[in-house]
């Protein structure tokens, strides 16, 4: 069997890639995909630890996280569509009206 530390390292790596994606990419849709990546990385960590500790709590939490991710994606995409209709752009740097 693969040791659970491998799973943790994988989860951390995927999380870091997600974070970098949020910080670096300009396209709003790609930022969203990176956020989904981060959530899935956390799911992976939860399942691996649940297997290691023999408790089902982690897997139950995964269910909740998946649900929340889905709902959040729906709402977020709706907002992006509204933004696009107004600005005709998906470049996140163009949405900068809330400044001093």
């Amino acid at each position: 069997m693969v040791s659970s530390s491998a799973y943790m390292i994988l989860s951390a790596t995927i999380f870091a890639i997600g974070v970098l994606g949020v910080l670096v990419r300009r396209n709003v849709l790609v930022m969203f995909m990176s956020i989904e990546l981060m959530l899935n990385a956390v799911n992976l960590a939860l399942v691996a630890l649940s297997r290691q500790l023999g408790s089902l709590d982690g897997q139950v939490l995964v269910f909740l996280v998946i649900t929340v991710a889905a709902a959040e994606a729906a709402v977020g995409l709706a907002i992006i569509i509204c933004l696009f209709r107004n600005k005709k752009s998906v470049n996140v740097d163009d949405f900068n009206l809330m400044k001093w």
């Binding site: 974070v19 949020v22 910080l23 996140v92 740097d93 949405f95 900068n96 809330m98 400044k99 001093w100």
Partner: protein, 649 residues
């Protein structure tokens, strides 16, 4: 005796009723004549009822045996604060009963006079409400049984004086005079307040009976504490009763309506200081230094004010300086220990001074407001009633025998000479002042009523005698000026000096022991009496020669001694001196505090804090860039920091 509280209560109700009417009129309700009638009836009726009650109380007091004539009635407790307990209480004894009779009696006639004098005035209801309020406060002052209630009345009459002097407040000189009166009064009241605090600190109580009965035991004779106490009390009296140095408000107070001058600045408010000194005689007798100060200031004020009155041309100014001078006599009496004589003179002075002021008002009413005596003359044939009443008042104030002023003034002069606290110099000053008084009063009389008319032709065409509401009080006061002295005929002239006997139960432990005055014989008293009468008669003859026979003599004298004349005419330039030394520095200090301190420092601090916050804000707001990725970066950055902290803890 249980009805003592009614005496101040009636005028208070009158004030409230007239005040409501006045406010309603201000709000726009029309001034129809039935309302004027109500105001007159409420205004005069309330004081009249108080007068009747005072008479009843007087006879009830007489019915008591002489040693027990001091009744205290508590209405209700007012302040209960630990050891500091003050009641609304009334003390009815011979002193306060004489005072309420004078205040209510003279006050009633002045109210009646005002219904005629102020008949055309727009502020009729407001006038009567203020007058009633004044009467209320004055009665509270003289009836109170403790220092705090006396102080309440004291301040209240000062307030009403301000309101009434500045009654015609659209006129700048009137409102200025009102402010001057109030401010100068307050300076004296500051001393009075300190004295009250000192008394409480020493005795633990402000009740008169408790303070005065414990005074000889608690205070050392001639000690610093009692001298300080009494000097501070006297400072209050100099403000309220217009003595040197705080007399400057009284001549300006003549801006008010003439009945106000008669009531407040002749008969009642200015006598509050004398009443207070008489009431606190137990304290004053323990402080010989203060007694000396009181006597000297009284005598000095008397002669000083008389000298100014010699050359004034405004009829009311002469009477104002005359009031200051006569108040000096009353304080002279108190200063030499003759408190009963001082109160006697207070009573007779109330009669003849109110009479003189009201007659002056009658003259002004006839001449459509003319005040300058140089424009009067020959009014005898036009105003016969006023002429006779004014003559009675002038004879009384000059101290002509058989008139009231003679008995009271003579008593004071005798006591100034013979009392152990007295001195021959004080007597000399008193006699000289009596001569000056007679001179300037008869000057006023002759210039106004006798000789050739110097009136404007237009004014002369409309001269008329005053209506009944004005002449009847004049007649009553004239009768009182004549017979009012007969309650105090001294023993040497065969009388029994009943007022002295009546007041002796109040001043019993105050009068000097009999053996100390025995060495002055009756013949000395006759001699002094004769000297003062002769001086007065000479003064009247001189005034007759100057102002009836040959008017050029005073003019030539004025030119010959031009600088002296100018100094007297300008009242020794005291107002200018005060302005230069006290008023202007204070005003400049206030201006400096405003321009420099308030604007620069305080506003600067407040505005400075605001601009500091604004500056900090303008720096910090730059974090709000609007770029989503900046926010995301700071989010991640913070999360990392927290993580690092927890890993390495």
């Amino acid at each position: 005796m249980n009805y003592v509280y009614l005496v101040p209560l009636f005028p208070l109700i009158g004030f409230l009723a007239n005040g409501i009417i006045a406010l309603a009129q201000k709000a726009g309700y029309e001034q129809r004549s039935p309302v004027r009638g109500w105001v007159s009836w409420i205004g005069c009726g309330s004081v009249g009822l108080s007068f009747l009650t005072s008479i009843v109380l007087f006879f009830e007091l007489l019915a008591l045996p002489a040693g027990e004539r001091a009744v205290q009635k508590i209405a209700f407790p007012w302040i209960l604060s630990g050891k500091f307990q003050i009641d609304i209480g009334f003390l009815l004894d011979p002193l306060s009963s004489i005072m309420i009779l004078v205040v209510c009696g003279v006050g009633f006639f002045i109210h009646v006079y005002s219904t005629g004098y102020m008949a055309e005035d727009k502020g009729y209801a407001r006038y009567f409400s203020y007058l009633n309020l004044f009467t209320f406060f004055m009665l509270m002052l003289v009836l109170s049984n403790n220092f705090l209630l006396l102080y309440l009345g004291w301040e209240g009459v000062g307030l009403c004086s301000y309101l009434l002097i500045g009654f015609w407040h659209e006129k700048k000189s009137a409102s200025d005079a009102g402010k001057k009166a109030f401010i100068v009064n307050r300076i004296g009241d500051f001393g009075f307040a300190l004295a009250v605090m000192l008394i409480f600190w020493t005795f633990g109580s402000l009740n008169f009976t408790q303070v005065f009965e414990n005074a000889p035991h608690v205070l050392a004779l001639g000690g610093g504490l009692v001298t300080a106490m009494t000097l501070l009390l006297f400072m209050g009296a100099t403000g309220k009763s217009a003595q040197i140095p705080l007399y400057v408000w009284l001549p300006d107070a003549m801006e008010g309506p003439t009945p106000v001058s008669a009531l407040i600045h002749a008969a009642t408010m200015v006598t509050a200081g004398v009443y207070m000194v008489a009431r606190c005689h137990a304290l004053f007798l323990l402080a010989p230094i203060t007694m000396g100060v009181v006597a000297v200031i009284g005598a000095a004020t008397a002669i000083y004010a008389a000298s100014i009155g010699l050359v004034q041309n405004d009829i009311k100014r002469v009477l104002a300086y005359s009031t200051i001078s006569q108040l000096g006599y009353m304080f002279l009496a108190c200063g030499v220990g003759a408190f009963a004589a001082g109160i006697f003179h207070l009573m007779t002075h109330a009669f003849f001074k109110a009479l003189l002021f009201l007659s002056a008002g009658s003259v002004m009413h006839a001449l459509a407001g003319e005040l300058n005596m140089q424009k009067m003359g020959g009014l005898k044939k036009y105003l016969p009633t006023t002429f006779l009443c004014f003559l009675a008042g002038t004879l009384a104030i000059s101290g002509i025998p058989l008139f009231s002023g003679f008995f009271s003034k003579d008593e004071i002069l005798w006591k100034a000479f013979s009392s152990p606290h007295g001195h021959i110099l004080l007597w000399v000053v008193g006699v000289v002042t009596a001569g000056l008084t007679a001179f300037y009063m008869f000057r006023l009389f002759f210039m106004t009523f006798m000789g050739k008319s110097r009136m404007d032709a237009k004014v002369e065409a409309h001269v008329h005698e005053s209506p009944k509401p004005m002449t009847i009080p004049l007649i009553v006061l004239a009768i009182l000026s004549v017979i009012g002295g007969y309650v105090g005929i001294p023993h040497v002239l065969g009388g029994s000096n009943r007022i002295d006997g009546f007041l002796s139960s109040v001043f019993a432990h105050g009068e000097p022991a009999a053996h100390e005055v025995a060495h002055h014989s009756a013949s000395t008293e006759y001699l002094l009496m004769a000297i003062s009468v002769v001086v007065v008669l000479i003064a009247i003859l001189v005034a007759y020669r100057f102002y009836v026979k040959n008017l050029r003599i005073p003019k030539r004298l004025a030119e010959k001694y031009r600088s002296a004349y100018r100094v007297l005419l300008n009242k020794y330039y005291v107002d200018e001196l005060y302005a230069k030394v006290i008023v202007n520095p204070l005003l400049n200090l206030a201006l400096l505090l405003w321009k420099r301190f308030d604007v620069l420092v305080i506003d600067g601090a407040a505005n400075g804090i605001a601009s500091l916050v604004k500056g900090a804000g303008s720096i910090i707001r730059r974090t709000q860039t609007g770029y989503l990725r900046n926010y995301a970066l700071s989010l991640i950055f913070g999360a990392t920091l927290i993580l690092v902290y927890y890993i390495f803890r």
